[in-house]
Amino acid sequence: MLNIGRTRRWIVALGVIVVGGICAGAVIAAQVRGPGTPEGLEAAIDSEPLVLLADQPARNGLAKRGVFVQPTSAGFLCLWDAPSASSPARQGGCNPSSDPFAGGELFVNFVYDGGPAVSDVRDARLSGLVSEAVARAQVVMSDGTRRSLVLRGASVGAKSYRGFGYRLARTDLQMGVGPVAVVALDESGAEIDRQTTGFNG
């Protein structure tokens, strides 16, 4: 015969164990997060709007993408390469809003699919932001040539941003030619910053 009192105690005990397990799991999950991950940044990235800065044109049979800027309430300015402003399938980085160029004049992200061998790279794109001191920007290619970058602007509230998107041509990739660096030039044409990409095709 079923002992109702004992069954009830078991149900209560099981409830306590389940709640304890959930709490313990949550604590473990929290402890394995990076201790220096900026407070609130991931939540801000996930919920706050992205603003289109430049297009990554459709090329090599690949769909168009965009370069987006995202000032966040967490005190970071983020730069994304994404299919759209609302797409979670994005790649990018953030710097403190107080120093988005990390003491320089450029904030550059280099994204690619395929590799790591250069000959296996199917798509490669550069995206970047430039400071007010920059008049022009160029990509220095591994064959020694330079490609001019078209600087686009976007405003978010009172803030204005300038930046670029650049998608490598398939012919370049097939020949193992890629971006070695992005350089920033001032009005006189003098180089005022250089960010290397690590490409060594």
Partner: protein
């Protein structure tokens, strides 16, 4: 009855742990960063976000590596202090991060499943 309850309790605890840990962000690298130092997670179809968080700017790469061709996917190379990429697919993969230049600054790679 006692045995049945014990088994049920164990199952529920396991379920509770897995439920709360299943949406976990796991730090898989963050100990020292000499140039070339790299870390990876184990292979799993569940990884979907890969993050490299740094206290200083230095040249780093994050990517996902599949378990068939070992090709790199959604790779990002940047000096930024916070890097984030996504691969929203059930393909079996591992998250991977690498320091392209050495740094003594605190930095950590983490992946979300």
């Amino acid at each position: 009855m006692k045995r049945l309850a014990a088994v049920a309790a164990l199952l529920l605890v396991a379920l509770a742990f897995s439920a709360s840990a299943s949406a976990a962000t796991v730090t898989y690298g963050g100990y020292s960063w000499p140039a070339g130092q790299a870390y990876s997670t184990s292979f799993s179809p569940n990884w979907w976000r890969n993050v490299f968080s740094k206290m200083a700017t230095f040249d780093t790469t994050i990517t996902f590596i599949d378990n068939v061709s070992y090709s790199w996917h959604f790779t990002l190379r940047s000096h930024a202090t916070y890097l984030q990429i996504h691969w929203l697919s059930s393909q079996t993969k591992k998250a991977h991060c690498r320091a392209n230049q050495g740094s003594s600054a605190w930095a950590a790679c983490s992946a979300t499943n």
